[in-house]
């Protein structure tokens, strides 16, 4: 089982998400994360799908994705160099006396404080998956009340 980042350019039409997701679900594959957004072209959306699975089966899924009429291009970013980002929102327990150390942690990670309440802080952080994992790990001792992250987005690096 390897982790794949599959980037799919699609027509911005209703039902496309279901068509794409259906190819994974029909094989019993769980999508780890999914981001759908607009692109530089009007009418074209991009879906970034993170999924773990058998290489041979995913090769088949990619071919099947290519066959969908509304799919314009499929690329596997796990096979190439790419820049990856996701955004996390984390609500931490934070009594007044611990604000200082939490803010210090945020500064080290380049995270922003999005909201302050008497007993909690909400932090917004972006970066690649590893950075966010690390932040969640280090902030866990304070008590994470709630956390969520967007799906990964990924863009290929230009070659020299």
């Amino acid at each position: 089982m390897t982790r794949h980042i599959i980037s799919v350019r699609v027509e911005n039409k209703f039902g496309v998400l279901a068509r794409v997701a259906g190819l994974f679900s029909a094989r019993g594959y769980n999508i780890d994360s999914l981001a759908v957004s607009s692109t530089e072209h009007e009418g074209i959306s991009v879906m970034t799908i993170v999924v773990k699975g058998d290489n041979r089966i995913l090769e088949q899924v990619k071919k099947q994705l290519n066959k969908l009429i509304d799919v314009i291009k499929v690329s596997d970013h796990s096979e190439q160099k790419s820049i990856q980002r996701e955004l996390a929102l984390v609500k931490l327990n934070c009594p007044g006396n611990r604000r200082g150390e939490i803010l210090q942690l945020c500064e080290l990670f380049g995270a922003e404080v999005a909201d302050i309440a008497p007993k909690s802080l909400t932090i917004s952080l972006n970066g690649d998956g590893e950075k966010i994992d690390r932040f969640l790990e280090l902030s866990a001792p304070y008590g994470i009340k709630e956390s969520m992250r967007t799906g990964l987005v990924s863009i290929l690096k230009d070659k020299e």
Partner: protein, 561 residues
């Protein structure tokens, strides 16, 4: 001038030169039927929507044209599902119109509402819900284009009733451009060169030809290829007829119930040339031990078929017809006379056979199929149901032309044969069409007999009546301790009376010497369908048989004593 959506549909069908439309009316498609009523399109009214779609499918298979179907929303649409899946698995071009509740009611659990695009998504090549009358003509144009190009398949167009009733100008697009859909027809020249090299060097090559050759009308090119290379050829169930089975180099069908010589030649081969075939599990058996010595050339229009089940050495993505033409202009015949004579010896020594009946009252089903072949001189179009009847029809009728064998291969749909025969007969008024049926399958869509009567179609329904769901019974006998759990269906209707009740001719045959006269009598009737109830040996099995997931070496050749 603005016209109604329903009129736009009919105008578009006229632009597509649709001759026949198959279907069944209902509430939300009344506007469309209203316009069809006086149109030049000949409408074939089924008695169940499943009958309509299988008929359209049979029409498409026998004619090479796109089959067109219409049904209402809700149950009308869900009754089509098996037929859509059947066409999808066998890559048959269909355009299927379903009615939908009006747009403002969608999602409301309205009367006869189902999410048609949702339900049909995994079993269509593409589907549409028309949300704007402006898109209607373009959607139809695209649907016909998508259904019939590339690897063909069914396309569903779900039309809300208020779209059918709203007004718009009719402008049918001249061309289609879909940026995500550009099928590749031309095989890559480098790959074709590589293939020619492999063929030239091969010592034990076999051609494995499938439904794709029939679909791309590449039968002539295939014959030329065999002639130029002298390589023995086997076909899949759906590939039958593309190469004449009466020719010396034909090894006929391979696979679970394929010939001994086809399966063994493939197994011993050092090069397998797959053309428009997809290495289905009914062909390969145990995949890890399939073609242990062979390199593989795979010609297919669908890149997703390549290296899906079997790793391919030289993939050629393209249209079978075009690629075969290229190959024919470049290929050199390999030196394989020893191999060919070995294969021909296998063919001579292990013919398809069955134990002939010694009892005048016991009719062997294989004998019935053999006589159907002899009495029609191999000129009939054969439709089949699914099960033993289908396999005997494949083994004992010899096919010499493409589009003369109409059968549900991938999905294995019981109840397909009779309605498909209706479609095939409309496509081929010049030929006799015979549905080789079982007593189980025929009961699944027997209501369609009346459609053949209404249209005066002289289809012959040859029921191989053994009182069992024979194929499942065969598995129970061989692999499940002869425990015939719910496969005995000898509590059956009187098929002759039933035929007569429908207005067909009905003939019962219980003795061997009645077989030929019954077939001759049926062939002499040309104004209505004929049902022949052949009461055959109850526990006859289909052999050879490579049990599911097993290898050629484990082939069961005949009944074990």
């Amino acid at each position: 001038m603005k016209i109604k959506g329903a009129q736009i549909i009919v105008e578009a069908l006229k632009e597509e030169k649709v001759e026949y439309m198959f279907g069944y009316p209902g509430g939300v498609v009344i506007p469309i039927f209203h316009e069809l009523y006086n149109s030049p399109i000949k409408f074939i009214l089924s008695r169940h929507e499943q009958g309509a779609i299988h008929a359209a499918d049979g029409y498409a298979r026998a004619s090479g044209k796109t089959g067109v179907v219409i049904a209402t929303s809700g149950p009308g649409a869900t009754n089509l599902i098996t037929g859509i899946a059947t066409a999808h698995l066998d890559s048959i071009p269909l355009v299927v119109f379903t009615g939908q509740v009006s747009r403002d009611m969608i999602g409301n659990d309205a009367f006869q509402e189902v999410d048609v695009t949702g339900i049909t998504r995994p079993i269509t090549k593409h589907n549409y819900l028309v949300q704007d009358i402006k898109d209607l003509a373009t959607v139809i144009k695209e649907a016909f284009y998508i259904a019939s190009t590339g690897r063909p398949g069914p396309v569903v167009i779900d039309v809300p009733v208020d779209i059918s009733n709203s007004l718009h100008r009719f402008e049918y697009p001249k061309e289609v451009s879909i940026r995500g859909y550009k099928p590749n027809y031309e095989g890559h020249p480098v790959q074709i060169k590589k293939a020619c090299q492999l063929i030239k060097e091969s010592k034990r090559p076999v051609i494995y030809s499938g439904g794709g050759v029939v679909l791309s009308d590449a039968s002539e090119e295939l014959r030329e290829f065999v002639k130029k290379t002298g390589i023995p050829i086997t076909t899949t169930l759906l590939g039958m007829g593309a190469y004449p089975e009466t020719e010396e180099l034909s090894l006929e069908m391979l696979g679970m119930h394929g010939t001994f010589y086809a399966n063994n030649a493939v197994n011993e081969s050092d090069l397998l040339i797959a053309i428009g075939a997809r290495f289905d599990d009914r062909v390969t058996g145990k995949i890890s031990e399939f073609i242990p010595h062979a390199k593989v050339i795979h010609i297919d229009i669908d890149p997703a078929s390549v290296s899906k089940n079997v790793m391919v050495d030289v993939p050629i993505v393209g249209d079978c017809k075009k690629v075969l033409r290229e190959l024919n202009s470049e290929v050199e015949a390999p030196e394989i006379s020893e191999w060919v004579s070995h294969v021909m010896t296998m063919k001579k020594e292990n013919p398809l056979s069955y134990e002939k009946s010694k009892n005048p009252d016991e009719i062997k089903p294989q004998y019935v199929v053999e006589e159907l072949y002899r009495q029609t001189e191999g000129k009939a179009v054969i439709a089949t149901e699914v099960g033993q009847n289908q396999m005997w029809a494949a083994q004992f009728y010899k096919y010499t032309e493409p589009r003369t064998f109409v059968s549900s291969g991938g999905l294995g749909t019981m109840g397909f044969g009779l309605p498909a025969a209706i479609g095939a007969q409309l496509a081929r008024p010049d030929r006799r069409v015979i549905d080789i049926a079982g007593d189980g399958s025929i009961q699944m869509n027997i209501q369609e007999l009346i459609v053949a009567v209404q249209n005066r179609l002289p289809i012959i329904v040859a029921i191989l009546n053994n009182g069992f769901l024979g194929m499942v019974r065969q598995w129970q006998q061989l692999f499940w301790e002869r425990r015939y759990a719910h496969t005995c269906i000898d509590c059956a209707p009187d098929f002759v009376k039933l035929a007569e009740a429908y207005g067909c001719a009905g003939i019962r045959v219980t003795k061997n010497d009645e077989v030929i006269p019954a077939i001759q009598k049926a062939l002499s009737i040309t104004d209505r369908p004929i049902v022949i109830d052949f009461v055959v040996a109850k526990e006859e099995n289909v052999y050879p048989m490579v049990p599911a997931g097993k290898t050629v070496k484990e082939t069961i050749m005949r009944e074990l004593a």
